[in-house]
């Protein structure tokens, strides 16, 4: 199949699924039917050409598959119960009124519903909205295909057995639904970020997938500042991808990255998204994180970074949420803007905070700041603590190399 057709199918898949679920209800059956329709298209379109209205074609075919499926089920039931019933008219013909925008949005809300576990929601979103195959999703998460298939079917089961209907959440629940969607998209991006930071070879690039899905969410909710913020955060983070790891997957910290490798077009797009959302008066945690990423991305050299601006943004972020990781990042920014001593002082309350006191990043930040102030022998034990505590291989390798090179001095 040509790439344009594949692209078109993946673009249409969630719209078609949304439309079929809205009309016929059963999410699991609709998903199977749409999958069959997509397969049919993948076989037929290269031969016969793309139909004039591909979306309607797919809905028609999926509806027919669904009808067949329900007929054969009821036929089986009839055989089993030995009761002959009148031919049931089970599936009404698809209506032609396209409400595609809403359908895709409702589908996204459904797949990311807070009642599902996050791994289930992630898997279902990639499958139903992203149009990835179970095999692709399983290999992206490095789990067996049977495990991923179960995760997806459990998610569908949860939707069926709970009261999650195919309707837009009422306005009072809308922001909760949107934040659940954004969290799932964030986690997908993070998974892709991890894979591209390490040595794991993947068939599917989950970071690009997350950006594609978030872009679609942004088209559906263009006025929502947090949706814009998350999209911008992903784009601005992904822009640094070519520079943030070395040939063996080793971490290259932000201040040592070759900034000429950063994707300039992506940075322009991300910065624009942030400026537009801020101009609309939006404030939210994804948008603020994106704004911070934008400040970094706009600095031509590490020493040009506008640290006072970053300190100010972290200060707003801290007022929005009581997150010790944000406080830790704020301390780093203060150290860069106002001197290491001020940054180190801000670590004291964190060292007593049970949520973060044993986290490797606290030790790593302390080590970095001590090193910056020339206290190498004081920094070493904290680097060692951090290397012992991290559960990330590239991070540990980075810290071990740091220790070795400081010892060599």
């Amino acid at each position: 199949m040509r790439q344009t057709e594949e692209h078109l199918l993946r673009e249409l898949a969630p719209q078609v699924l949304g439309a079929v679920v809205r009309r016929y209800g059963d999410f699991g059956a609709a998903e199977d039917a749409v999958q069959e329709a997509l397969t049919a298209a993948a076989f037929q379109w290269p031969e016969s050409g793309v139909p004039e209205n591909p979306r309607a074609w797919l809905i028609q075919v999926a509806a027919r598959k669904l009808t067949d499926q329900i007929r054969s089920q009821s036929a089986r039931r009839r055989r089993e119960t030995k009761i002959v019933l009148e031919e049931e008219n089970v599936v009404p013909p698809p209506d032609e009124s396209p409400v595609e925008q809403d359908d895709s949005l409702v589908l996204l809300f459904m797949c990311c519903h807070p009642a599902l576990t996050r791994p289930s929601a992630i898997a279902l979103t990639l499958r139903a909205v992203g149009g990835l195959t179970t095999t692709e999703i399983a290999s992206a998460f490095l789990v067996p295909e049977s495990t991923m298939a179960q995760r997806i079917s459990r998610a569908k089961q949860s939707i069926k057995s709970s009261a999650i209907g195919f309707v837009l959440p009422p306005p009072e629940q809308r922001s909760q639904s949107i934040s659940a969607v954004l969290h799932v998209l964030y986690l997908i991006f993070n998974e892709g970020y991890q894979a591209s930071s390490g040595n794991a070879h993947q068939r599917v690039d989950l970071s690009s997938e997350a950006i594609r899905l978030t872009r679609a969410a942004h088209q559906l909710m263009p006025e929502n500042g947090e949706v814009s913020g998350l999209l911008a955060l992903m784009i601005l983070t992904d822009a640094r991808r070519p520079a943030r790891s070395g040939p063996n997957g080793e971490i290259v910290p932000l201040d040592e990255q070759d900034r000429s490798l950063w994707d300039k077009a992506a940075i322009v797009e991300g910065v624009q998204l942030v400026s537009d959302a801020l101009a609309r008066g939006a404030v939210g945690s994804y948008l603020l994180q994106a704004a911070i990423a934008a400040v970094h991305d706009e600095a031509a050299r590490a020493e040009d970074t506008d640290w006072p601006q970053i300190v100010a943004l972290y200060a707003v972020l801290m007022r929005l949420s009581d997150n010790p990781m944000v406080a830790l990042n704020h301390a780093v920014a203060v150290a860069m803007a106002d001197g290491v001593a001020k940054g180190l002082a801000l670590l004291e309350p964190l060292a007593r905070d049970p949520r973060i006191k044993d986290h490797y990043r606290l030790a790593a930040v302390r080590a970095h700041l001590l090193e910056r102030s020339g206290k190498v022998s004081a920094a070493l034990p904290y680097y060692e603590q951090a290397a012992e505590k991290t559960a990330s291989t590239p991070e540990r390798n980075y810290l071990l190399l740091k220790i070795a090179s400081l010892r060599g001095n």
Partner: protein, 133 residues
């Protein structure tokens, strides 16, 4: 997050000490393990699981100074416990991994009593989360 649950058995009389078990006790034990794996697979949490052949068949391999491998009987004789098998589970929290290990530990032994087998739970190394700082 992925965790490896490593099940350790004490070295006793005979491998696994199971050659003194009654057939129905053995069958109950095997059934328990099969059910556990089925539950984990259906929960979408099972990333891998294998049982290991008895330690009597184990060999220790190491390269000598000239690079040639030396193969000797293993595991180390002084070890009081040996690895009988492992699971890799993909779960949302460490607590969930501990709960699965806790369940595996109750596998039945002689008289149908829970064995209280020791499991070592270790997080599988991953890559760093992204962070805008």
């Amino acid at each position: 997050m992925k965790f490896m649950l490593m099940m350790h058995a004490p070295r006793g009389d005979g491998e696994y000490g199971v050659n003194q078990w009654k057939p129905e006790e053995l069958r109950a034990h095997i059934q328990f393990m099969k059910d556990l794996n089925k539950d984990l697979r259906e929960a979408g949490e099972l990333a891998g699981a294998e049982g290991l052949a008895p330690p009597g068949q184990a060999r220790i391999v190491r390269a000598l100074a000239d690079g040639t491998p030396e193969v000797t009987d293993g595991p180390f004789a002084e070890a009081k416990e040996f690895l009988v098998g492992y699971w890799i589970v993909d779960v949302e929290t460490a607590e969930r991994a501990y709960a699965i290990a806790g369940k595996a530990s109750t596998a039945p032994g002689p008289g149908g009593k829970p064995l209280g087998i020791r499991l070592e739970v270790r997080q599988v190394m991953s890559s760093p989360d992204f962070d805008c700082s």
